[in-house]
C-alpha cells in the first residue's frame, strides 16, 4: 500500500511534468480565449488544480 502510494505519487510527478512543459504546453500557448480567459491561463490553472486534487486523493485515500 505504501509502495503503491509512492508509485502513484511518482507517476503524478512525471505526468504533470509533461503537462506543464513543452511540447504539450505548446498546444495551449496561444493568444486565444477559452471560457472568457486566456487559453494558457485557463490551462495552467486547470492542470494545477488537477495536480492538487490528484495528490489530495492519493494521500487522503489511505484510511
Amino acid at each position: 500500500m505504501a509502495d503503491d502510494r509512492k508509485r502513484s505519487l511518482l507517476f503524478i510527478f512525471t505526468f504533470f511534468l509533461f503537462l506543464i512543459t513543452y511540447p504539450i504546453l505548446g498546444i495551449f500557448d496561444h493568444k486565444t480565449m477559452t471560457l472568457g480567459m486566456p487559453t494558457l491561463f485557463f490551462y495552467l490553472f486547470f492542470v494545477w488544480l488537477g495536480l492538487i486534487i490528484a495528490v489530495g486523493l492519493v494521500v487522503g485515500n489511505k484510511r
Binding site: M1, L10, D29, P38, W48, L51, I52, V59, K62
Partner: protein, 894 residues
C-alpha cells in the same frame, strides 16, 4: 507597529504554550502555512511586475514546488528522518554530515548560501522601501543611490528588519534549533499575506472591472496586454520556462529558509501528506489574481508607474487607501517573514560553521569562559550574524539599484540554491558519492554561477570593471558571462543555470567515481541512503507526540492494571522530579516511557498502535498494521521453535526416566545379588565352621570314617566358595571387558565332549542320562578353549540343576548348517516361564520360584555364558515352556 506587536504577541504566546507541552504548531495546516514563507515580497510585489513583461512565466516559480509536492512523501520525509536522526540544524549541516562531517564542506555551503541569498534579502528590503515610498506618495526609489545612506529609507528598513529578525530568531537557544513561536508567527503572516493579496485581487477584478471576463476581454483588445496571454508573444522560450520550473523545484527544498521550516522546524513527518496538497493550493490561490492585477495596472497606468508596485498603486489610484495600507501590511508580512527565517537559518550556519569554530580556535581552550554564559555569547554571535547578513543585503541592493526588477534579482538566488541539488539529492540516493565529489561540484558550480550572474550585475553597477562582460574574461571570447563557451541566445538566468548545474553535476559525478570515500563518509552515506534501516520501525520515536493524561492513563490501566500503572507513573514522577497531578497533557517522554512499559506487556508494535490511538496523530496506516502482523509472525515462528525444543526435551526426559528405571532395576538386582551371594557364602561357611569345630572338639571320640566324611564336606564346601568367588571375579573381568582371550582353531566336538565326560560322576549321582552323538564332521571355529569349555559346563550344570532326579535326560547335539554351527543343550526339567525367558541372560537373575526352594547357583552362569558367546561372535537363545523342559541353542559362525 501594531502589526509587529501582534506578531510578537503570537510568538510569545506560542512559545509559552510550547513550554507547557501543548504545542500549537504541531498541526499539518500550520506546517503547510509556515511552508508558505516561500512566498515573499517577490510573490507579493514582484510577480505582478514580472507578469507585465513575461506574461504567465512568473507561474513557473510556483508550479515547480507544486510539481515536487507529490515527491515530498519520499524526498522531504527522508530528509526529515535523516535530520532528526543526525540532529541536523541547517542545510550546510546536512551536506557536511553526509560527506563525512566535513567542516570544509560546511564552510563552503555556508559561503554559497550567504552569498547566494544576499540578493534575495536585498529585494525584500527594496520592496518594502518602495512600498513605503508609494504610500508616502514619493517616487518608489526615492533616496536610493543618490545621497548618503542615512537619508536612505532602505537603510532604516534593513536596520529594522535586522532587529526584528534578531529578536525573533534568537530569543532563546534550542539545541535542535526549533522555534515554535517563530513558526506560528510565520504561519500567521502567511495567512495575512494571502488574505491581503486576495483582497487586492478581488478589488481590482470585481471593483475596477466587472469580473474576470470583463478584465480579460478588455485586455484582449489592448495590444500591449494581449501579448502577455501567451509565452510565444511575451518572449518566454520553452527552455527558459523549463529552467524556471526546475530552479524553483529545487529551491523549495534547498533554500536555507525552506530547509529550516520544512525540515528543522518540522514536528513530525506525518504532517507531510496534508501539506502535500495544502501548500500547492495556497500557491494557486495567491497567484490567481497576479495576471489580472498586472493586466489592469498595465492598462490603467500605461507604463507610468513601476510595475512592482501595482498592488499598492491600484487601490491608491482608485481611492481605496485603507486597502493600500492593508496590502502593504500583507507585503510587509511576506518580506519580514522571509527575512526573519532566512536570516535565522543563515545565522545558524554562519555562527555554527564559521564564527564559533573561529572563536574557539582563537581563544584556545579556556574552560572558564566556555562555562560562563557561552550560550549568551552564542546568541550574541547569532545576532551579529543576522546584522551582518542584512547589512550585506542593503549594500547589494544599493549597489545594484533599481535597474533590475525584483524577480530577476531573486532568480539569481534561486540559481545559487540549486547548486546544492547534486550534493543533497545525490547524497541521499547515491552511496558512492564522495566528499571530494561534493566539494569540487559545489566549487565549480558556485564559480560558474558567480561569474555568470552576480559579477556582471555588479559590473553593470560600476563596482568592478565592466570590460569582461563585453569581451570575456582576460579578453577571451569564450568566457563571456552571458555567453559562456560561445553559448548565445539564452536569457541570463537560463544560461547561468544551465552551465552551472551541468558543470556542477558532471564534476560531482566524475570526481566521486574517481575518488575513494573515507570511512566516515562511507558510514554516513549508508545512514543517509538507507535511513529506514537506522530508525527501524521506530521512526516516530524521535519525534514529539502528545496525548491527554487521562487517555494515557486509561490505556495503561487497561493493559497493565491500575496498580502497575500507578507504580509506573510514580516512577516517572520521581525520576523526572515532577508532579503529574495537575498536568492535562502528557509530555512526549512520558509517552515514550509508557510505550516501553506497554511494549513489555503487549509487544512493541501493538504498544505503538495503542498509543497512536490516544496521541494526536493520524489513524493507523496499513503498513503499520503490516508491521504488527510481521511481529506476530515472528512470535509464531518463535513459538514453533519453542515447540520443537519442548518435544526434544520430552524425549530426553523419557530417555532419562527409562535410564533411571533401568538403574533402579539394576540397583535392586545388585542388592538381591549381594543378599544371594552373602547367603551363598554364609551357608558353606557355617557348615565349614560347625564341622571344623566338631572335629576339633570331638576328634578323640569320632571314628576315622566319620572324620573323613566331615573332611570331605569341608572340601566340597570350600570348593563351592572358591567357585562362587571365581565367578564373581569373572563377572568383574567381563564387565571391564579386559578378560584375556587366546584365539585358536578348535574343534567344537572336543569342547562338547570334554565336560560331558568330566561330569559323568555328577550325572550318575542324580541318575541323569546325558546323550551326545559324536558328529562325523569336524566343527572348527576360532575360539578360546577354556572359555568355550566354561560355556559348555555352565549349560550342562544349568540343565543338571533343573532336571528331575532319576528321570532326567539331557540331550546335547552339535550340527552344521551352511556357515553356522549350532550347539543345542536340551533338558526335560521344570522349564522357564515365557515372561522370564528374556531376563535369564541378565546378570544377577535367578529363577527361584516354583516351589523348588532356592536353586543352587549364583545367577551369574548364563550371563557369563552369553558374554563369552558374544565375544566369539555367536548368539544364544532359549526355547522353553513351563514344565516341558528348556532348550538352549548357541550359534557360532563356522
Amino acid at each position: 507597529m501594531l502589526y509587529i506587536a501582534l506578531l510578537f504577541y503570537i510568538a510569545w504566546w506560542v512559545d509559552k504554550r510550547a513550554d507547557r507541552g501543548a504545542s500549537v504548531v504541531s498541526n499539518p495546516y500550520i506546517y503547510a502555512l509556515s511552508l508558505a514563507v516561500y512566498c515573499t515580497a517577490w510573490t507579493f510585489f514582484g510577480s505582478v511586475g514580472r507578469a507585465t513583461s513575461g506574461g504567465l512565466s512568473f507561474l513557473a516559480v510556483y508550479l515547480g514546488p507544486s510539481l515536487l509536492a507529490p515527491l515530498w512523501y519520499m524526498l522531504l520525509r527522508k530528509m526529515i528522518l535523516i535530520s532528526k536522526n543526525q540532529r541536523i540544524t541547517s542545510i550546510a549541516d546536512f551536506i557536511s554530515s553526509r560527506y563525512g562531517k566535513s567542516s570544509n564542506l560546511a564552510i563552503l555551503v555556508t559561503v554559497i548560501a550567504v552569498t547566494g541569498i544576499v540578493p534575495y534579502i536585498s529585494i525584500q528590503l527594496r520592496a518594502v522601501t518602495q512600498g513605503i515610498n508609494v504610500l508616502a506618495n514619493l517616487s518608489p526609489n526615492a533616496g536610493n543611490l543618490e545621497g548618503y545612506f542615512w537619508k536612505d529609507a532602505a537603510f532604516y528598513v534593513a536596520l529594522a528588519m535586522a532587529i526584528f529578525a534578531a529578536v525573533f530568531g534568537t530569543r532563546k537557544l534550542d539545541p535542535n534549533e526549533r522555534h515554535e513561536g517563530l513558526v506560528a508567527a510565520i504561519a500567521f503572516e502567511s495567512l495575512v499575506k494571502l488574505l491581503a493579496f486576495l483582497a487586492v485581487g478581488i478589488f481590482v477584478t470585481y471593483s475596477i472591472y466587472d469580473g474576470f471576463g470583463d478584465l480579460f476581454a478588455q485586455a484582449a483588445l489592448n495590444e500591449a496586454t494581449v501579448k502577455l496571454f501567451s509565452f510565444q508573444s511575451s518572449g518566454v522560450t520553452p527552455f527558459a520556462w523549463f529552467v524556471l520550473i526546475m530552479l524553483s523545484l529545487f529551491a523549495i527544498i534547498l533554500l536555507p529558509r525552506q530547509f529550516h521550516i520544512s525540515v528543522v522546524e518540522n514536528t513530525t513527518p506525518r504532517h507531510i501528506p496534508k501539506a502535500m496538497w495544502v501548500f500547492p493550493l495556497y500557491l494557486l490561490l495567491i497567484n490567481i489574481f497576479v495576471l489580472p492585477v498586472a493586466l489592469a495596472g498595465k492598462m490603467l497606468f500605461d507604463g507610468s508607474v513601476l510595475p512592482d508596485t501595482y498592488v499598492l498603486s491600484l487601490p491608491l489610484k482608485m481611492g481605496a487607501p485603507w486597502l493600500a495600507l492593508a496590502t502593504f501590511i500583507g507585503g510587509f508580512s511576506a518580506a519580514t517573514g522571509m527575512v526573519v527565517v532566512e536570516a535565522t537559518a543563515l545565522s545558524i550556519m554562519f555562527s555554527n560553521h564559521i564564527l564559533v569554530p573561529l572563536l574557539i580556535r582563537s581563544r584556545g581552550t579556556s574552560n572558564e569562559t566556555k562555562k560562563t554564559g557561552f550560550s549568551d555569547r552564542l546568541l550574541d554571535i547569532r545576532r551579529f550574524s543576522i546584522l551582518l547578513m542584512l547589512l550585506l543585503a542593503y549594500l547589494y541592493q544599493r549597489a545594484i539599484g533599481a535597474s533590475h526588477d525584483l524577480v530577476s534579482v531573486g532568480l539569481i538566488s534561486f540559481t545559487a540554491a540549486a547548486q546544492l541539488a547534486p550534493a543533497v539529492i545525490g547524497g541521499m540516493y547515491w552511496k558512492r558519492a564522495t566528499h571530494q565529489g561534493a566539494m569540487t561540484g559545489l566549487i565549480t558550480g558556485f564559480l560558474v554561477w558567480a561569474f555568470c550572474l552576480p559579477l556582471p550585475s555588479l559590473a553593470q553597477a560600476g563596482l568592478i570593471p565592466n570590460d569582461f562582460v563585453q569581451n570575456g574574461l582576460f579578453g577571451i571570447g569564450f568566457l563571456k558571462p552571458y555567453a559562456l563557451f560561445g553559448l548565445e541566445g539564452m536569457d541570463a538566468i537560463s544560461h547561468a543555470a544551465f552551465w552551472s548545474l551541468l558543470i556542477n553535476g558532471w564534476t560531482y559525478a566524475i570526481v566521486s567515481i574517481n575518488t575513494q570515500p573515507n570511512m566516515l563518509t562511507l558510514t554516513q552515506a549508508n545512514i543517509f541512503v538507507n535511513i529506514q534501516n537506522y530508525i527501524g520501525g521506530q521512526d516516530w520515536d524521535i519525534l514529539k507526540r502528545e496525548a491527554k493524561m487521562f487517555d494515557l492513563r486509561n490505556v495503561l490501566n487497561r493493559f497493565l492494571g491500575e496498580n502497575r500503572t500507578q507504580i509506573i507513573l510514580q516512577e516517572y514522577e520521581t525520576t523526572n522530579n515532577i508532579s503529574l497531578k495537575n498536568e492535562k497533557n502528557a509530555p512526549s517522554d512520558l509517552i515514550n516511557f509508557a510505550e516501553t512499559h506497554l511494549a513489555g506487556a503487549i509487544g512493541a508494535a501493538s504498544a505503538r498502535l495503542m498509543l497512536d490511538n490516544v496521541t494526536k496523530e493520524e489513524a493507523i496506516t496499513l503498513d503499520e498494521v503490516m508491521r504488527i502482523l510481521e511481529q506476530t509472525k515472528e512470535a509464531v515462528a518463535h513459538s514453533h521453535i519453542m515447540e520443537t525444543k519442548n518435544a526434544e526435551l520430552n524425549t530426553l526426559t523419557t530417555q532419562l526416566t527409562d535410564a533411571n528405571e533401568q538403574l533402579k532395576t539394576l540397583d535392586r538386582l545388585k542388592a538381591d545379588f549381594i543378599t544371594t551371594i552373602t547367603h551363598e557364602i554364609r551357608t558353606p561357611v557355617t557348615s565349614i565352621r560347625s564341622l571344623s569345630k566338631i572335629i576339633l572338639d570331638y576328634r578323640n571320640e569320632l571314628d576315622e570314617k566319620q572324620i573323613s566324611e566331615y573332611l570331605q564336606v569341608l572340601v566340597n564346601e570350600s570348593n563351592r566358595i572358591s567357585r562362587l568367588i571365581n565367578q564373581v571375579l569373572d563377572i568383574e573381568k567381563l564387565q571391564s571387558e579386559t578378560m584375556p582371550y587366546s584365539f585358536e582353531k578348535i574343534d567344537l566336538r572336543e569342547i562338547v565332549q570334554t565336560p560331558i565326560a568330566g561330569m559323568q560322576q555328577l550325572f550318575a549321582e542324580k541318575n541323569i542320562r546325558c546323550e551326545f552323538k559324536w558328529p562325523s564332521e569336524e566343527m572348527l571355529i576360532d575360539g578360546d578353549r577354556d572359555k568355550l569349555i566354561q560355556v559348555m559346563v555352565n549349560l550342562l550344570s544349568n540343565a543338571l540343576k533343573f532336571c528331575p532326579l532319576n528321570e532326567g535326560i539331557i540331550a546335547v547335539s552339535l550340527q552344521k548348517e551352511q556357515n553356522f554351527i549350532i550347539l543345542k543343550v536340551k533338558d526335560n526339567g521344570i522349564g522357564i516361564p515365557k515372561s522370564r525367558q528374556k531376563d535369564i541372560f541378565e546378570k544377577f537373575t535367578q529363577i527361584n520360584s516354583v516351589g523348588q526352594g532356592k536353586p543352587y547357583g549364583t545367577g551369574l552362569g548364563l550371563f557369563i555364558t552369553k558374554k563369552i558367546v558374544e565375544q566369539h561372535k555367536g548368539s544364544i537363545r532359549v526355547e522353553s515352556e513351563l514344565g516341558k523342559g528348556a532348550s538352549f541353542e548357541v550359534t557360532f559362525s563356522a
